[in-house]
C-alpha cells in the first residue's frame, strides 16, 4: 500500500467511524441479532467487519443505548439487540446532526469553484 493509499484508508475509516454508530442505531429500531444486523447493513451498502460490529454492539449496550436478550431461534441461542428509549432519543439527535453536517458539506461543495468535486458526487 502506498503512502497515499494508506492515508486515504485512514481518512476513510475515520469518516466511516461515526456513521457506523448511526447506521447501527437506525437498523436496531427493529430487533436483530448480530449476524442479521451485519447482513442488513451490508445489503444497504455498509459492509462492517465482524471485529468492529460485534464489539460496537457491546459498547452501545454498556452506554445504555441498546438492550439485549438471549433467545432461541432456529434451534440456536442468539443475542437480540434493540434500541432503548435513551437509544431512540440519541438516534434522533445524531440523525439531526448527521443531516446538518450533510447539508453543510453539500452547500460547501455547491459554493465551491472546483466543479470536479461536484462532478465526483
Amino acid at each position: 500500500m502506498t503512502i497515499a493509499e494508506n492515508l486515504f484508508e485512514n481518512l476513510r475509516l475515520e469518516l466511516r467511524r461515526g456513521c457506523l454508530t448511526l447506521a447501527v442505531l437506525a437498523q436496531l429500531r427493529q430487533e436483530r441479532y448480530g449476524y442479521t444486523l451485519r447482513k442488513a447493513l451490508a445489503d444497504d451498502g455498509l459492509v462492517i467487519d465482524e471485529s468492529t460490529l460485534y464489539p460496537l454492539l457491546r459498547r452501545l449496550e454498556t452506554q445504555g443505548l441498546l438492550a439485549s436478550e438471549w433467545r432461541e431461534e432456529e434451534k440456536r441461542n442468539k443475542r437480540f439487540y434493540r434500541l432503548t428509549a435513551d437509544g431512540e432519543q440519541m438516534f434522533t439527535k445524531l440523525l439531526g446532526e448527521w443531516n446538518a453536517i450533510n447539508a453543510s458539506v453539500l452547500k460547501t461543495l455547491d459554493a465551491s469553484p472546483n466543479e470536479n468535486s461536484k462532478a465526483n458526487l
Partner: protein
C-alpha cells in the same frame, strides 16, 4: 468446525475474563449462522482452505478480542499532553540532579577516567527509570479516571475553566526571532572586549586591578593559588582574544546584526576547557600554602576545606553550564529545522 472452535478458543484467551463466556457464546452464534449461510449457498461444507480464508478475514484472534476491551491505550488523548509536559520537566530535573550529585561524588573522591565512563554509562538507565515511573503513574491515573474511580478536575479541566488572559506573555526570542543587534552595540562590545582583554593581561602583574584595596589582605593570607591556575588563565585570555576577533570579523563583514548562533554555542563550549582543567587538578589542589613546612600542621585542615568547597563550586558551575549549553544547542537545532521547514513551504 474444528478450526472455528480453535479460533474462538484463541479469541477467548485475550478477552476480559468476566465476560469471556458471554462474548464467545454470542460470537459463536453469529459466526455459525454466517457459516451455515455460506454452506447453504454453496450446497456443500466449506473446504479447509475456504474455512481458513474465511477465518483469516475475521482477523487475528488477539485483534478480534482487543475490540472488546474498553481501553486500548495506556495514556489517552486527554492526559497525554499533560504526561508529555511532566515527562519533559521530570527528565530535565533528573538530568540536572544526576549531574550535580555525580559531580559532588567525583569532587569529594579521587576521580579517574573510569569514574567518568561509569557515570555516563549509568545515565541512560537512570533516565529510563524516570520515564518508566512517570509513565506508570500516568497509566494508573488514566485507568482510574477511565473507570470513574477518581475525578481530577485540575488534570482535565473543563474547556470553560481556563482564561486566555492567564497565558504567558509573548516571548520576543520565540521561533528564533531575535531583535537585530545595533551597530552601536556591536562597536561597544568590541571596545569593551578589547579593554577587558588588556585588563586581564595586566591583572597578574597588578593584582589590585582585580582585588582593589583587598590586595593587601589577600597577600597577607598564608594561601596562594596552585600552578593549575596558570593554564586556566591563558585559556581565559585565549577565549577573550577569540571573542574579540569574532566581534571584529562580524563588524568587518557587516554581519554584526545577526551573529551566527553557532558562534555563541562554540564560545560557551570553550569555557569547558578551563573548568575541566580545574576539575582534574591533582588532589583537587586549587589553593596551596605559601609555607607548607611551617603551616601544614596548623592550616592543613582548613586548606582541605577550602579546596573541597572550591572544587564543588567549579563542579556545580560546570553542570549548570552544561545544562545551559545543552538547552541552547537543542533550541538552535529546533529553530534551524523550523526555519528550513518554513523555507520549504
Amino acid at each position: 468446525m474444528e478450526l472455528l472452535d480453535r479460533y474462538l478458543q484463541a479469541v477467548r484467551k485475550h478477552l476480559p475474563w468476566q465476560r469471556q463466556d458471554d462474548i464467545i457464546a454470542e460470537l459463536r452464534a453469529n459466526l455459525e449462522a454466517q457459516l451455515e449461510e455460506k454452506e447453504s449457498e454453496l450446497g456443500r461444507p466449506l473446504t479447509s482452505a475456504e474455512m481458513e480464508d474465511w477465518l483469516k478475514q475475521l482477523g487475528l484472534p488477539m485483534q478480534m478480542a482487543a475490540h472488546y476491551r474498553p481501553q486500548q491505550f495506556l495514556i489517552g488523548p486527554t492526559l497525554f499532553p499533560i504526561y508529555r509536559n511532566v515527562l519533559k520537566i521530570a527528565l530535565t530535573w533528573a538530568t540536572v540532579i544526576y549531574c550535580i550529585t555525580r559531580a559532588i561524588v567525583l569532587v569529594t573522591g579521587t576521580p579517574h577516567m573510569v569514574d567518568f565512563v561509569q557515570i555516563l554509562a549509568q545515565a541512560p538507565g537512570f533516565l529510563f527509570g524516570v520515564v518508566a515511573w512517570v509513565t506508570l503513574v500516568f497509566a494508573v491515573l488514566e485507568y482510574l479516571i477511565a473507570h470513574q474511580m477518581v475525578q481530577i478536575p485540575a488534570l482535565c479541566p473543563p474547556s470553560g475553566a481556563w482564561s486566555p488572559a492567564g497565558l504567558p506573555p509573548l516571548d520576543p526570542t520565540a521561533n528564533g526571532v531575535v531583535k537585530p543587534k545595533s551597530f552601536a552595540t556591536a562597536i561597544a562590545e568590541s571596545i569593551f572586549g578589547f579593554f577587558w582583554l588588556i585588563w586581564l593581561l595586566l591583572v597578574p602583574a597588578h593584582p589590585y586591578l582585580m582585588l582593589g584595596p583587598g590586595t593587601a589582605y589577600v597577600s597577607s593570607l598564608p594561601y596562594k593559588l596552585a600552578p593549575i591556575w596558570v593554564p586556566v588563565y591563558w585559556c581565559l585570555v585565549a577565549c577573550g582574544v577569540l571573542q574579540l576577533a569574532w566581534n571584529l570579523i562580524d563588524l568587518a563583514r557587516g554581519s554584526y546584526q545577526r551573529p551566527h548562533p553557532a558562534m555563541g554555542v562554540a564560545y560557551k563550549s570553550l569555557a569547558f576547557i578551563p573548568m575541566t582543567v580545574l576539575l582534574t587538578a591533582r588532589d583537587h589542589a586549587l589553593v596551596l600554602l605559601k609555607n607548607p613546612a611551617a603551616d601544614q600542621a596548623r592550616l592543613g585542615a582548613s586548606l582541605d576545606g577550602i579546596n573541597k568547597t572550591a572544587g564543588m563550586s567549579v563542579a556545580c558551575v560546570f553542570v549548570v553550564l552544561a545544562v545551559v549549553l545543552g538547552v541552547e544547542i537543542v533550541q538552535w537545532i529546533l529553530n534551524s529545522r523550523r526555519r528550513r521547514a518554513a523555507a520549504s513551504h
